[in-house]
Amino acid sequence: MKIVVLGFDGASPKLIDKWINNLPTFKAFKEKGIFGYTIPPVPAQTPVAWTTFMTGKNPGNHGIFSFAMRKKGTYERRIATPKTLEAKTLFQILNESEKKVGVINVPMCGIQKVQGFIAPGFLSKNEGVFFPEEIREKIRLKFDVNKILGDLKTETLGRVKEDPDLFFEEVNHITDEMAEIALYLLQKEDWDLFMTVFMGTDRIQHFFWKYVDQTHSNYEKNKYSQLVRDFYIKMDKITESFLNSVDEDVITIVVSDHGFCPVEKEVVVNNYLEEIGLVKTKNGKIDLEQSKAVSYGYGDVWLNVKGREPFGLIKPGKQYEEVRKEIADKLMLTKINGQVPFKDIWKREDIYTGKYLSVAPDLLIIFKKGWQAARNPEIMEKNELKRYVKKNPMWSGGHDGTHDPVDVLGVICSLDLELEEKKEIRIPLKDLAPTILSLMDVAIPRDMEGEPFKLHFRKDRST
């Protein structure tokens, strides 16, 4: 069985529902096929989520816990890249079973030795460049481009507030171009699994969520509400073109890695850690060696442990547990304008298992909808009245604040699959790789943790 996976990063089931009457393809998924939710990992971040999808493992076994992690045995912040990925991907597993893959713009997927072709995605330094060379040449001849633009330019992203129209123009342009190239390869090349991920949905929603989500406290309907909806209509049309371009015996699955929720205020976690005496500063900057615990700008908290960090201050064992408990207890009692911004605080072993558990943050703060961790980890000016809250964050929508996965569910739909029993579909992302392998009749590696979801091929799409 051949499979096409069409990914839309951050595509929100809430928005699909909202605009369902303008989205005929998604309406057909609801009426005739399957339409359900994917459950992202913690944190529900693009690199963590797509890696979980690709490996069928929890972060404890693939090693990607965040955009920025602490490099083991140092205080250095390390960015997640395909090089830091510690587990085999679905594409490599298929390759071992002599299956051909075509992979375009999947985040965290770098160059991998496979039969078929790959254009690495977001966070790979080879983003958009096709491997092997022959495919690059074919694309050059046909489309006169050296690589695909899977994502917006850094300059355009940096100027989104000043020039939102340029942002939309570019995101629409790169999406159309990538769709055209992907459809061409889908039809011309030989593959068993074809997968491509469009990033536009995520990028748009971060900056323009408040124009489409009525539950956002600054909700406002204007021309950008329309432009976001138009992008969903584009997504629907691209999906339709994919469905029309493959044979009847191919299963096409549309999936997103997470959804979105409102972001209204940001909390500077390190200010709170300083308030309770754990963060120490030197010349106004955080002194990583002298601090007992710091956050690197997400809902992460890293302790400074003797024997683990170069200048560890906390004894492993009893004292480590006491500090973790102290942080969790104190933060959960912190009120900002009468509200506690935190939903939950988890110890790493509560959510992760596996051999890379030791490089996970020691604690994970889960924020309520509307809140998120301020991304610049440095202490901001002390303002007791505002209690270290940043208003007007850069984003109005988010998913990795860190938010509870159930607040930011992704979507999964197909016309070619049916469920064994009628029930609401909620699939953890790590179950998708084993589900795909099982539909393709490829043995699921024993170390893959996810379970295949009980979905079956449905022969006739029209009913």
Partner: protein, 267 residues
Amino acid sequence: MDEHLQKLEEKSIFILREAKAEFKNLAILWSTGKDSTASLWLCRKAFFGKIPFPVVHMDTSYKFPEMYQFRDGIAKKWNLNLIVAKNEDALKSGMSPKAGRFECCTQLKTDVLKKVIEQQKFDAVIVSIRRDEHGIRGKERYFSPRDKEFKWDYKDQPPEMWDLYSSISKEASHLRVHPILHWTELDTWMYVKQEGIPVNPLYFAKNGKRYRSLGCMPCTVPIKSNAKNIDEIVEELKTTKISERSGRAQDKEEAYMMQKLRALGYM
């Protein structure tokens, strides 16, 4: 003299002399660190005691006080034609790593170098990078063309076979010359010891910490070490698995990604 070091030295001196013969307006960059100081030493050997071109120090103003002391001492002792290049405008407007490390490096280092090359009309600059420092540097050549934007197209470089170095390039605005590209960190230290080259005391351990690579103060952290002299450093390097630049805030490759993540709002 150690045979291995002698071979390294011969090759470096050959490259330096080729560069001097080939270019009208040559200069050498000097960070005051061990590698570029070793290069100055090699220049003195290659040109019989006197370095026949300017020595450029790019001063971000955020260097360690010990680096300035060391710089001025050596400049006097070796009678260097020292050019200190600074981006005064950016510094006046308060540029610091707080504005983002990438931006800070761009304005206080990259832009300064662009300006000094333009002003002094340098057609080649000697840079003391080594292949073992960093992944991407493994692709470097001894003579490496840069365009006006400083872009280095590592896929389109002149071939360097049998040690024949081509310095001709149409698009190049200037050439980078890398005389110690083939050296390793350990080679530099062994050479420093053999030749008795002065090095900055920051490299030696104090209170259990030492600097393995020197940069700007806010963005460089010391490593845990008890190596108090060159012999102990050599011993330490033979056993360590940690990268030399691990104490430096970030690598360039990562810097571009950081810049994008910042624009996206992820950082």
